[in-house]
Chain length 358, copies 2
C-alpha cells in the first residue's frame, strides 16, 4: 500500500492507494473505525461495476451495510438528492457512528461529503473514488458540493473524510476519454508544483494512460501527494490553494461557453492550462518554451490544446470570465506559470487575459 | 463592553455583551471585518422590534445591507427555508466576503448558521441573538441546525461565527415566560460548572428576571463564559460537552410527550434538571439537599419543577428516552449532578432512569 497523509491537525486522514484493494476495504474499516454499520452512497452504473467487490469485503468483515443509490454524475448534485438521502438515512436509523462511504466519481463523492457534513452535525466519511479525476482531485481537499440552478458547486462545505481508499484497478472499466480528462489534472499539479514529476510524466504518460499498474499507482499517489501538500498549507482555500486553479480561469469559461455537457472538466482544464502558459510567456513571467512543453505532454496524452472559437466567441468568453470572481479593482485572480513546476497567482483584468487581438 | 472569548484555535471568536449596543454593530463590523456588504437574516416580529436600531448603525457605518425575512421560530428551521435563502443570496450576488448577520432567537440563529456554513463553503457569520435563551445558549457552541420531519436538529453542521453581538436591552420586549425559560439555561450552566455563580443566582435571580442592567449583563456574560470554557475544551461534542445536556434527557422527553408547541425548551430543561438532581441523590452521587437547592432557585424564577404526569405517562416517557440515543449496552448517557457546580456523565438504562415505581 502506498499511503499519502493529508495533514490537517485533528482533521488529518490517510489516502491509501493499492491496486486490487477494493475487496479489502471492509477489513480496513473494522481496523480503523471499530464500526459495525456503514451506508454506501453510489450510483447504479458504478454499483454494477464495483459493488460486488466492495460487498464481499464488507460481508467478510462482518459490517452491516446498505447501498443508497443516487443518480450518476452531475445530476446527483442537487439539494433534492441530498434531502432524499437525509430521509433514507434517518428512516434507516442513522447515528453519529454510522459510516458513510462514497463510491463513485467526483459527483458522487461531492454529494456523499455534503450529506456527511450536514447530517447529525457530521458523520464519519470514507471516500472510494472510482474515476481517475476523482482519485486525484476530489479525494484531497475536503470540499463538498452541490449545484444550484445559478451555478456549479455554489452549495457546499469544507469537510474532511476520515479515509480515502483508492484502488487504481477500478479504472480498467473507465472510458479512455475519462482517463485522459483525469490525466489533465495530474499534469496540472505537476505543472504548478513538481518539475521532476512533470518530467516523469513526459516519460511515462503513455504507461499511465495504458493503465500499467506501477505507473498508474505512482501517478495517482504523487498527484494526491502534491495536492495534500498544498491543501495542508491552506485548508480553507485562503491563498496558496488558489494555485490549484491553474488552467481553471479559461477552463471554466470553456465549460460555460460550450455547455458543461459537451466538454469534460479535465479537457477544459487542459485547454485553460495551455492558454495560461502562453499568457505567462507573453507577459514574460515564464521562460520561452514553457507552453510548448505543456502542449507536447498534453498532446501525447491525447488532449486537445487549442480553444478553436476563442476569438470568434470572445464576448461570450469575456462574460464567462467576469462572473462572480471580480475583486474591487476589477481584476480577477489568474494562476500564471513561472516555469514548469512553479506557479504564481497574479491579478489581471479580463481584457488583459483576453485582449482584443492576440 | 464585556467580552467573552471563545477559544477554538483559528476558529476563535469574541462574544461582546453591552446594554444598548445594537445600534453600534455597524461600526464594529467595519472595524473587525473591512466589509462593505451584509445580509441580515431575521423574522418579521423581530425586525419590527429591532431592525431600526441595527439599520441606523449599518447606515452610519456605510455598510450596504439588505434584510432577508424568514418565518419566526421553529417553523424557519426547514431545508425549504434554507433553500429559499440560497436562492435569494445567490440572486443577490453573494460572494465569500458577504457577511451574514443572524438577528433573532435561537431558531433564526440556527438557520443563519446553517446557510452560512453551506453556501460557497462558508460565509462569515455574525450572530445577534435577541432572546435570553439564544444569548446564553445558541451564541456559544457553533451548532447550526434544521429540523427534519422525523426529529429536531437532525440536519446541521458545526460552524463558528466570527462575532456574537449581545445587547441585553433587546430583552426588554421579551415576554416574561421567555425570560424564565432563558434563565433555566443559565441555572443549568451554573449547576454543572460554577457553584459561586449558582450562589450569585440564588441572590440575584430576581434582578436578572426584572432586567436590571448590571445583573442581567453579568448573568449573560458568565453563562456565555461557562459555555465557552466547556466548548473550548470539546468543540466537536465528543465528551465534556455532554455535561451541557444536564436536564435534557427528561427535558427532551417532556417536550416529546407534551408536544414541542406546548412547552418551552427552558421549561422542559428546568423539569429535567430537578428530575436529574433527585435521581443523582437517590443513586448517592450527590449529597442530600442538592435537588432542594435547585428546586428553590428554579421556583424563585417562576419555573415549574414537577413533571405532573410522569407516572401516569410512564410508557410514553420511556419511549421518548430510548429513541436514537441507546448505545450497544442498552444504556444512555445521563448527566448526574455530583454537587451544585459539578456534574458527571453516567450510563443508565431507561429503566434505571425511570423505574416502575419511585
Amino acid at each position: 500500500v502506498s499511503t499519502v497523509q493529508v495533514l490537517l491537525g485533528e482533521r488529518s486522514y490517510p489516502i491509501r492507494i493499492r491496486p486490487g484493494s477494493l475487496a479489502d476495504l471492509g477489513e480496513a474499516l473494522v481496523a480503523e473505525f471499530e464500526t459495525s454499520h456503514a451506508v454506501v452512497i453510489t450510483s447504479k452504473p458504478v454499483a454494477a461495476r464495483h459493488f460486488a467487490a466492495l460487498e464481499s469485503g464488507l460481508l467478510r468483515a462482518g459490517i452491516a451495510f446498505e447501498p443508497l443509490l443516487i443518480p450518476d454524475g452531475e445530476r446527483a448534485k442537487t439539494l433534492r438528492v441530498a434531502a432524499g438521502l437525509y430521509d433514507r438515512l434517518i428512516e434507516g436509523g442513522v447515528t453519529r457512528q454510522t459510516l458513510l462511504v462514497g463510491l463513485g466519481g467526483g459527483a458522487t463523492c461531492d454529494v456523499a461529503a455534503f450529506v456527511a457534513s450536514t447530517l447529525l452535525r457530521g458523520l464519519p466519511l470514507v471516500q472510494v473514488p472510482t474515476t481517475l479525476l476523482a482519485q486525484v482531485d476530489a479525494s484531497v481537499g475536503g470540499k463538498s458540493a452541490l449545484n444550484h440552478p445559478r451555478g456549479k458547486n455554489l452549495i457546499g462545505t469544507f469537510y474532511q473524510p476520515r479515509l480515502v481508499w483508492i484502488d487504481p484497478d477500478v479504472l480498467a472499466t473507465l472510458p479512455p476519454r475519462e482517463r485522459r480528462a483525469g490525466l489533465a489534472e495530474i499534469v496540472k499539479v505537476a505543472s504548478i508544483w513538481d518539475a521532476d514529476f512533470f518530467k516523469w510524466l513526459e516519460e511515462n504518460a503513455g504507461a499511465v494512460l495504458g493503465l500499467e499498474r506501477d505507473a498508474l499507482a505512482h501517478a495517482v499517489a504523487r498527484a494526491c501527494g502534491i495536492k495534500a501538500e498544498i491543501v495542508g498549507l491552506d485548508e480553507r482555500d485562503a491563498g496558496l490553494r488558489a494555485l490549484l486553479n491553474f488552467g481553471h480561469t479559461l477552463g471554466h469559461a470553456v465549460e460555460v461557453v460550450n455547455g458543461y455537457r459537451h466538454v469534460r472538466h479535465g479537457e477544459a482544464v487542459a485547454l485553460g492550462m495551455v492558454f495560461a502558459a502562453r499568457l505567462s510567456e507573453r507577459r514574460e513571467l515564464a521562460p520561452a518554451g514553457t507552453a510548448a512543453r505543456l502542449v507536447a505532454l498534453l498532446a501525447r496524452v491525447g488532449l486537445a490544446t487549442e480553444i478553436a472559437d476563442l476569438q470568434a466567441q470572445r464576448p461570450a468568453y469575456l462574460r464567462a470570465l467576469a462572473v462572480d470572481k471580480k475583486g474591487a479593482d476589477g481584476a480577477i485572480g489568474f494562476v500564471a506559470l513561472r516555469e514548469i513546476g512553479r506557479a504564481e497567482l497574479v491579478r489581471l483584468t479580463a481584457d488583459e487575459i483576453l485582449p482584443g487581438a492576440v
